[in-house]
């Protein structure tokens, strides 16, 4: 399936881009992260991240649909 991934903060630096189109056999959030983290060398484990699909927070077991926008969110530091 095809996904659009957005990257922020240190994940953006590690990926070398702020977004990318990904074609993957992964069909849930957790397995997609494992694949992407290995490819980009992300050091965060899922326990340290939150995840959003199509602009809303969700959980790591969320099933994905073709063309979903997926964002892995590192710990926030606003304010």
């Amino acid at each position: 399936m095809n996904y659009k991934l957005l990257y922020f903060a240190s994940l953006c630096d590690a990926a070398g881009c702020s977004e990318e189109a990904v074609s993957s056999a992964a069909c849930d959030v957790r397995s997609l992260y494992a694949e992407i983290a290995a490819r980009h060398g992300f050091s965060f484990t899922p326990e340290h991240l939150r995840v959003a699909v199509n602009g809303a927070f969700t959980d790591w077991e969320q099933r994905l649909a073709n063309n979903d926008e997926v964002v892995f969110l590192p710990p926030v530091s606003g304010g």
């Binding site: 922020f8 240190s10 710990p75 926030v76 530091s77 606003g78």
Partner: protein, 140 residues
């Protein structure tokens, strides 16, 4: 205007304060978070803020709605900056008007604490010496 906003330009504090005006408001509490010249023992000379804007606006609106439900307030406004900020610039502004000061202080504190903990915004510190770094503090 929206109760929670993201701004790429300097926050217009006076205009936001006017948004809080209400005939029933006997108290107005405002908090300004500003760019400080040090953090964790290092000299800082500026910050860059980045936001996942779509989700930040939704989560910020959710926080304001929670505060309205918890406290007896008239108006709530919160705006967070993104982009490059110099020392002393306002990074986040939260204002609350209410009938009485207790609710105004409590709601203002609630909004800024929840915004810092939950809204997808990140800061990159620029140091006087050394490479800049994104801050990813451990969750509360």
């Amino acid at each position: 205007m929206e109760a929670f906003g993201i701004s790429a330009t300097p926050i217009a504090v006076d205009a936001l304060r006017r948004e809080l005006e209400s005939a029933g408001a006997g108290a107005v509490v405002c908090f300004e978070g500003r760019v400080r010249d040090h953090n964790d023992g290092r000299a800082v000379d500026g910050l860059t803020y980045q936001a996942y804007v779509e989700l930040a606006k939704a989560e910020g609106a959710c926080i304001v709605a929670e505060a309205r439900a918890r406290f007896s307030v008239e108006r709530i406004v919160c705006v967070h900056r993104v982009g490059d900020l110099a020392l002393g610039e306002v990074a986040v502004w939260t204002g609350v008007s209410a009938g009485h000061r207790g609710a105004a202080f409590d709601a203002c504190r609630y909004v800024i604490d929840e915004v810092k903990a939950r809204v997808p915004i990140w800061k990159r510190e620029h140091y006087v010496e050394g490479a800049p770094e994104w801050l990813h503090p451990a969750a509360r």
